[in-house]
Amino acid sequence: MGLGAYVIRRLLLVIPTVIGVTALIFAVTMILSPETRAMIYIHDVKQLGAIKDIIAMYGLADPPHIQYFRWMQQVLSGNLGWGVTDNAPVLTSILRRLPSTIEIVLPSIPIIILVGIFFGVKAAVHQDRPLDHITRFWAIFGWSLPTFWLAIMLLAIFYGWLGWFPPGVNGMPLGSHSVQYVTATWRDAQGQIHYNWTRYTGFYTIDGLLNGQPGITVDAIKHLVLPTMSLTIIQVALIIRVMRSSMLETLGKNYIITAKAKGLKNSEVINRHARRNALIPVATIAGMLTAGLLTGVIITETIYNIEGLGRWAAKAATGGFGGGTVDIPAVLGFAMFTCLVYVFANLIVDVLYAYLDPRIRLG
């Protein structure tokens, strides 16, 4: 079948997966008793006496499938519940915090892929020589590092000791419910407060330029270096290992020997023939890469004090870091969002895989 048919078929498969994912998240909620779920709607101690009424009003004791349909209707109309962590609807929280998360994740992806492929190829080509050993050692070393340990160490070295890259991005006040044109304040490194800062995109780097204050863009980039570094260092190890082993396998294939026998330059053989075919298994683990990034983002944002989705989820799950109650709608909203991102990332990877390797489409 052609690429188009494969894409359509793959897209159709997304629907049952998404249904299954939402069902699982819903099942996780159903583990809790109706009283616990009613607690979300209680903002005052005096309301505790009315728990039975709350349960009846929101139908928390109905059979699970009825509650599921009701919940799906709510979700599809955009109501994901109220998050206590931000004191805002869950959907609003997600949309407002998303740019901060994307700001750290987006630069990491090309770095991870390019650096990983480069060193993986080099390690395979110079197999069993010092470069190979160093690269392999680095790959195992990097993969064993706990994310939070690396993040704190980087912070200690580059901020505590050298003072180069500060952590954290000043959080914007989340009072209003509108997502786009929120006038926020920005306090820069010198402590000066800027007013009339309009969040055009939500990305501090881009908004700095759009607001006519490039100094803020530079400042924002300095804040981003450490989080991006801590995300990258661990994930690049995975790409190096997979690229190296896949490259080694490709270099043993017959067509490479033929190419060398024909008299092609070594660099041409590697770059034009071997590397392309070795990239195919790497594309499959790009799905794992997305998962790793989504997981790493939670810890990185918590340590570097970035008000993105990860920090929100961490605060929600632990009840504000050892304070209040657990914010269940927020955790579930985050879980659902992450799942959807992951499902679509896998979809893109599968399509990419089919594009790179025609055998997949025809098989």
């Binding site: 392999r136 064993s144 939070f148 200690a156 955790v331």
Partner: protein
């Protein structure tokens, strides 16, 4: 004796080759040494760090002050400090964490927690995944489709996210009615035995029917019959137990998929066909022929996974979803450092030392897993 030695000769040759390859690869030796070192530390924990309280997993503290003290600072002569001094502690060897918990004690006994987390979660996830994967791969058809959709759903979650959601949602305790399990087990065994013995149906089908019957019974009993509980039993779950359960739920689909793939690969081999022709039962084929030939990838994945699970558990503890405060767990000790991130250089020992332990432990298992892969994987062995 000679006959036996001759028949075992190929296996002995392979074993010697394996040992030679281990000796030739320095990284695998490093991995083995690290893991042995940690095992010794775990076994000798009562000697290296004598427990102060009746529960050895409770890290001793000499005051309720929150500020960490550097390595080498003396133990304070408070009433709780004196308890520790009786057991021989005069100095905080590696300093204190926030809350005045001794770091040295926490790290040594944390080794036991780390082994417990890694081995227990991997063992349970492996067993569950093994059973589901083998049944799914061997019988195929509808069972396979259903199981694989189920694993797909769990795979759609990145690990930490699902763990967080589960730890949040799991109840504080489970109240079981043991009679339910007993009745379900009786029904399962009865139906599974009636099949081959009385009705002459194949063993596999009757086991499956027995399983379905007991499931139906459990569902009916829970929702329809309202029996008074006969042997009620309450199991309280603390946060560490919840995180272990969450990690297991997240871990088993990986093994199920892996084993199913291996079973599909081995199922088409000639010796399996031969066993079927001879009349071996399904169970015998699965455990005597297919499983030993699928073992190596499972072993490799399991040893790599132990490191990964400890990392995930440490991340959960760091966020506050793992062990409780004062419990000897490396991730738990680092979670104190969350509050001191801005003055990290001053209190470096609170996060550096436990983090180093986590890193070395995971490194050891990763090196071991990699070494296993290079040495045991039949396609890479003689490269």
């Amino acid at each position: 004796m000679e006959e036996y030695r001759k028949s075992m000769a190929p296996q002995i040759k392979e074993l010697k080759f394996t040992l030679r390859r281990i000796k030739r690869s320095p990284l695998s030796i490093v991995g083995i040494v690290i893991i042995l070192g940690f095992s010794c530390m775990a076994l000798l924990a009562p000697v290296l760090a004598p427990p102060v309280y009746t529960d050895p997993m409770a890290i001793w503290r000499d005051s309720f002050k929150n500020e960490p003290r550097p390595p080498g600072s003396p133990v304070l002569r408070t009433d709780i400090g004196l308890l520790a001094m009786e057991k021989g502690y005069t100095v905080h060897l590696w300093g204190t964490a926030a809350g005045s918990y001794d770091i040295y004690y926490g790290c040594i006994w944390g080794t036991i927690t780390a082994f417990r987390i890694g081995l227990v979660v991997t063992a349970v996830a492996l067993t569950v995944g093994l059973i589901i994967g083998m049944i799914s791969g061997y019988y195929g058809g509808v069972i396979d489709e259903v199981m694989m959709r189920f694993t797909d759903i769990i795979f759609a979650f990145p690990g930490l996210v699902l763990c967080m959601a589960l730890v949040v949602a799991l109840p504080g305790g489970i109240s079981l009615d043991l009679s339910l399990f007993v009745f379900a087990a009786i029904i399962f065994i009865a139906v599974s035995l009636i099949g081959p013995l009385v009705l002459k149906i194949s063993g596999g089908i009757s086991v499956l029917t027995g399983f379905i019957c007991s499931l139906v019974f459990v569902v009916l009993d829970l929702y329809v019959l309202h029996r008074p509980p006969l042997w009620a039993y309450y199991i309280p779950l603390n946060k560490l137990d919840k995180s272990l359960m969450a990690l297991t739920i997240v871990g088993w689909p990986g093994y199920a998929r892996l084993i199913r793939g291996e079973v599909l690969r081995v199922k088409t081999e000639d010796y399996v066909e031969a066993s079927k022709a001879v009349g071996c039962s399904d169970l015998r084929i699965m455990f005597r022929h297919i499983l030993p030939n699928s073992l190596y990838p499972i072993l490799i994945t399991a040893s790599l996974d132990i490191g990964g699970i400890v990392l995930l558990a440490a991340a959960l503890s760091f966020l506050g979803l793992g062990a409780d405060q004062g419990y000897a767990d490396w991730g738990q000790m680092i979670s104190y450092a969350r509050n001191f991130v801005s003055v990290t250089m001053k209190y470096w020992y609170t996060f550096f030392i436990p983090g180093l332990f986590i890193f070395l432990f995971v490194l050891g298992w990763n090196l071991l897993g990699d070494a296993f892969r290079d040495i045991l994987d039949p396609t890479l062995r003689r490269r």
